[in-house]
C-alpha cells in the first residue's frame, strides 16, 4: 500500500502543476496568444472568464471550467426527466438552464393529439438527442434515433457534466472497462446523467465506481485505480469478455 502511494505521488509531481485561475486573471499577452475557451481580450491582455484551470491549445490560452452548468449542443445525447405533459408535447429537464420540449412528431410512436400522457408521463426518464439549439437557446430534442427510448429499471447517477469525459475515458477505455467488469448496461448522457442497469450488486459497484471517477477525476492512473476498486468489490472469477451492446 505504501509503495503504491509513493509511486503515485511521484507521478503527480511529475505532471505540470495546473494553475487555477479566477475571473479577471491575466492568462497571457494578446500578441503571444489568442483568447481561447472562456477567455477574453482586454487592453492587450488575455483574461479568464470563469474559475477553472489554465489550458493552452495551439496558439490560444483558455480556461477549462470546473463545475458550472451544462449547455446543450446539437447532436449531444442526454438523459432527460419529464417535467410536464402538454397536449402535443412533453417538457423535459435535461440539467441545462433551459427546459427542453419534446414534440409528438419527435417520438417513435404515433401519438394522437391529447394522448401524450399514455406514452410518457411526469417522472419518466428518457434517452434523448439534442436536435437543435437556436440563437436564443431554444432547445429541441428528439427520440427518433437508434438507441433512444424510455428508460425502465436501473439506476440514474448524476455527476458534474465536466467530468463526463473522464467517465468515458480515452476513446471509451474507461466506460468499456466499467461495462465489461460490472456486466452492466451503462448509458452516459452528455448532461452529466448516467444510467446503469444490471444485476444486483453490480449496479451499486458501477455507480460507486462512477462516483470515484467524479471525485478523483484529475488524478493520474484513474483507470487502473477504478479497475482495482471493482476487482476488490466484485471478484472477477470468470473473466469472460462479454461485449455489451449499447
Amino acid at each position: 500500500m505504501i509503495t503504491f502511494k509513493s509511486d503515485k505521488m511521484e507521478k503527480r509531481s511529475a505532471r505540470r502543476t495546473r494553475e487555477i485561475v479566477i475571473p479577471g486573471d491575466v492568462l497571457g499577452n494578446a500578441d503571444e496568444y489568442k483568447a481561447g475557451e472562456n477567455a477574453y481580450e482586454l487592453d492587450g491582455k488575455i483574461r479568464a472568464n470563469v474559475i477553472g484551470t489554465k489550458t493552452y491549445t495551439n496558439d490560444a490560452v483558455g480556461v477549462t471550467v470546473m463545475g458550472g452548468f451544462y449547455m446543450p449542443v446539437t447532436g449531444d445525447t442526454v438523459i432527460g426527466i419529464i417535467n410536464d405533459v402538454g397536449p402535443s408535447n412533453w417538457m423535459l429537464d435535461i440539467n441545462a438552464p433551459y427546459p427542453a420540449p419534446l414534440h409528438v412528431s419527435e417520438v417513435p410512436w404515433k401519438v394522437e393529439f391529447g394522448d401524450t400522457s399514455r406514452f410518457l408521463t411526469v417522472g419518466d426518464v428518457v434517452l434523448l438527442k439534442i436536435l437543435m439549439v437556436d440563437e436564443s437557446k431554444k432547445i429541441q430534442v428528439t427520440m427518433k434515433d437508434s438507441g433512444l427510448r424510455k428508460i425502465e429499471g436501473g439506476q440514474l447517477v448524476e455527476i458534474s457534466y465536466s467530468k463526463i469525459s473522464r467517465v468515458i475515458g480515452k476513446s471509451g477505455s474507461m466506460i468499456q472497462m466499467l461495462k465489461n467488469m460490472t456486466d452492466c448496461r451503462i448509458f452516459v448522457g452528455q448532461n452529466g446523467r448516467i444510467w446503469i442497469d444490471g444485476d444486483g450488486e453490480n449496479v451499486d459497484v458501477a455507480a460507486e465506481a462512477i462516483r470515484i471517477i467524479e471525485r478523483e477525476s484529475r488524478s493520474a492512473n484513474l483507470t487502473d485505480r477504478v479497475r482495482e476498486f471493482i476487482e476488490k468489490r466484485l471478484p472477477q472469477s470468470e473473466e469472460d469478455e462479454e461485449e455489451d451492446s449499447e
Partner: protein, 243 residues
Amino acid sequence: MVLVNEDGIRIDGRRIDEKRPIKIEAGVLKNADGSCYLEIGKNKVLCAVYGPRECKPRHLQDPTKAVVQVKYNMEAYSVTDRKRPGTDRRSVEISKLIAEALENVVQTELYPRASIDVYIEILQANAGTRCAGLTAASVALADAGIPMRDLVPAIACGKADGNVLLDLNKEEDNYGQADVPLAIVPSTDEIVLLQMDGNMTRAELDHGLDMAFAAAHEVYEVQRDALKRRYTEMSKKEGDSDE
C-alpha cells in the same frame, strides 16, 4: 461623541485609512450552485447563487440576455433593535444597486432568457453591508462557475468628526457626516457602484475615493485568495482520496 481622537485613532482602534479585518470563504452551502460567507469587522454576510436557470417571473425574461436577480435581506436579529422582517424600501434599493453592479461584469449575453439568482442574507450588520453583500455576491457568482469579466470588490469611505475615513463602522456611520460606498472592477478600475449619503467637499471626496480604490484592490486580493483556496482544496481532495 469623539469618533476620532487627536492621534487619529478611531473608536475601534483603527487608523483613519485602515479597513476592518476581512474574512471570506467560498463554497459554504451544499445545495447552492455557488456560495460565499464573508465577515468584515462585525458584519456577517451569507450569499447564495443559483443558475443560470429558467427565469421565473416570466415577464422579467430578456430574449437577448440573462437577468441578474438579487435579493438582499437583513435578518431580524442582524441589528440591535429587532428589524421588521421582509422587504422594505431600503432592501429593494440595495438589491437593485447590487444587481446593476453585477450585470456589468457577468456575461449575461451567453444565457438569453435565463436568470441568475443571487440571495444575500445579512446575519449581522455593522454599517457597510451593501459593500459586504456585493463583495460576497461576486465571489459566490465566480464559485458558481458563471462566466464573468472580473470580480467586484466594494468598500466604503466617508467622513466623521471632520476626518475622511475608510470603511466606516456603525458609530461613524450614524454620527458622522458622510458615507460613500464604492464598488469597482479591478482590471479596468471602472466604478460600478458609487453613492454618497451626507456632505463632503470635492477635495475630501477625491481623497476618500483614492483610499477606497486602494482598499478595494486589497479586498480583491482577499476574494481571489478565497476562491483559489476553495479550488485548490477541491483538487487536493480529488488527488488524495485513497478509498
